[in-house]
Amino acid sequence: MRRNIGRKIQPFLYLLPSIVILIFIYLYSFISLLKDSFYNISTKTAVFVGLRNYINVFGDSLFWDSLLHNLIIIVVTLPVLIIFSILFAVFLYERIKGWKAYRVIVFLPYIFAITVIGIAFSYIFTYRGVLNYILNLLHLKFLALDWLGSPRVAIFTLIFVIIWKELGFGVILLYSRMMSIPEEIYDAAKVDGVSWWQNLRYITIPQLRSIIEFYAVIIVITMLSWIFNYVYVMTSGGPGNSTNVAEYYIYRRAFQYNQMNVANTASVILFIVTLILVFIRFKLERREEEIID
């Protein structure tokens, strides 16, 4: 009898350290985040204010601008990352000449810290920087721009750097999944004289479909809430507010303007949006497992 009880609680002893840490960091944060969003926390003792914080955040045009910038980044990076990940993964799979070297190069950006690469790119993209110098050498001076200094262009320069950093992961992810596609399918197609394009369209993409969907959700989550570093080191949200994103908006409100109420409530909204995406991801993963089974 005693042994039986021991057996039953034993798993939880092993789980205890994890549970304690996760509850303390995640659950505590979520609850106090949600609770505080209904209070004024900038006074010494918190005062209940109902929905006033939410009204303030929703009434802040800068908050909407920041979300719009996240949206622009998602809309541009999503197709670019997916299309190029598929293409470069397929080329690797086809063992084009030098594929081993390409595989190393493709994955290289993964090692570099965003801070390091962001700073390097911000020097490359200044008006007197290397890129404009190269354009000048190529007699393309008319293309020279202040890549990070002009409000219309800066966000696209930022997007370029994000793609530079994130593409390798997608290529390797799809490539390693391609390795598990049964080769007989391609062999059979070859006998039928299928073209490269048909191979891609009717075999590779359908076979990779579930992992592509999964990758797409990861991209959306990343572009919504994991791009603080790029903005912090490259543009500080500027020029103007043209590259301000949700995370940077929260950071600035909280730690530069000391507007904790606004920052806290904006965090709740970002959290809820992320939760919806997590749910979608979870659904897709479940479906993928079913397909594999």
């Binding site: 840490i21 810290a113 390091v116 390798g168 950071y251 920052a263």
Partner: protein, 288 residues
């Protein structure tokens, strides 16, 4: 269906096959140039004098110098930042790995109520962005005077590393045959010894993958380090380098030298773990 398309626009469908080789190589060479250029730029600039950088930003230095490295290390603050980064990385990796091994053991080798629901919740935490937790945690740490403190940041980092670590280790532990554990149990091995002297040594590929991925993440982390370690002596290398950018705004090669120094440990680690690492990616998706 394929035949129909083939006859309809044969020319366009076979076009990639004819010019394919050229286009593929062109794209990959272009990608390689774009990928390697910033790396080249950082390294080359680190060996230029301020004056040469202004006159010659693109080409190799005519007269490579090491003065930027000595300038970066001047005044010992860089050493301090380096030490902070090392302490935080090592501390978080060890804590998260130990705790994750215990949990993964339970998830993979024991039966209990609510197992799959619990694992699913933990895995979902993987994508929660740190920014949403920063404010409550900062307010809490400030209240109990734990800002500018290694322990609090190590705890936060470990919590952020745990979901992925538990996920990967559980997937790996499951593949270790139960018969192995049974025979150890018959020999009188306790469960905790089975974990440490059988399962963990057999899981070297998964553990090395975790050490590499988690170190890369912790070493590069900026947001939490920026907020929780604000005093100059407690800053991490990444926060320090971001600061260099403004401090050495007119002496860019010094920043470049600092960035080279900050990246070398990660390259060494990556080369060391590469063999296992690529395998790790294929087995479970690693966050980008």
């Amino acid at each position: 269906m394929i035949n129909k398309i083939k006859s309809k626009s044969k020319f366009w469908y076979y076009l990639p096959d004819r010019i394919g080789g050229f286009v593929k190589h062109f794209l990959y060479i272009l990608l390689s140039i774009i990928t390697l250029f910033p790396v080249y730029f950082i390294i080359v600039s680190a060996f230029k004098t301020k004056k040469e950088y202004a006159l010659n930003t693109l080409f190799l230095p005519s007269n490579p110098v090491l003065q930027n490295f000595t300038e970066a290390f001047k005044g010992n603050i860089f050493w301090l930042w380096l030490m902070n980064s090392i302490i935080l990385t090592v501390g978080s990796i060890l804590l998260s790995l130990l705790v994750a091994c215990l949990a993964a053991f339970a998830f993979s080798k024991m039966k209990f109520w609510g197992k799959s629901a619990m694992l699913n919740i933990i895995v979902s935490l993987m994508v929660i962005p740190p920014i949403v937790m920063i404010i409550p945690l900062f307010r809490l740490m400030a209240k109990i005077n734990l800002t500018n403190n290694y322990a609090s940041v190590i705890l936060i980092y470990s919590a952020l590393l745990l979901p992925f670590s538990i996920y990967l280790l559980t997937n790996f532990f499951v593949t270790i045959p139960n018969s192995l554990l049974e025979s150890a149990r018959i020999d009188g091995c306790t469960d905790i010894r089975i974990l440490f002297s059988i399962i963990i040594p057999l899981s070297r590929p998964a553990i090395i993958t975790l050490v590499v991925v988690n170190s890369l993440w912790t070493w590069s982390e900026l947001l939490i380090a920026l907020i929780f370690l604000q005093s100059n002596k407690m800053k991490t290398l990444m926060v320090g380098i971001a600061l260099f950018k403004t401090r050495y705004a007119i002496n860019i090669p010094v920043t470049m030298a600092a960035m080279v120094m900050a990246t070398i440990p990660m390259i060494v680690l990556y080369i060391f773990g590469q063999r296992y690492f690529v395998k790790g990616i294929s087995s479970g998706a690693i966050k980008g």
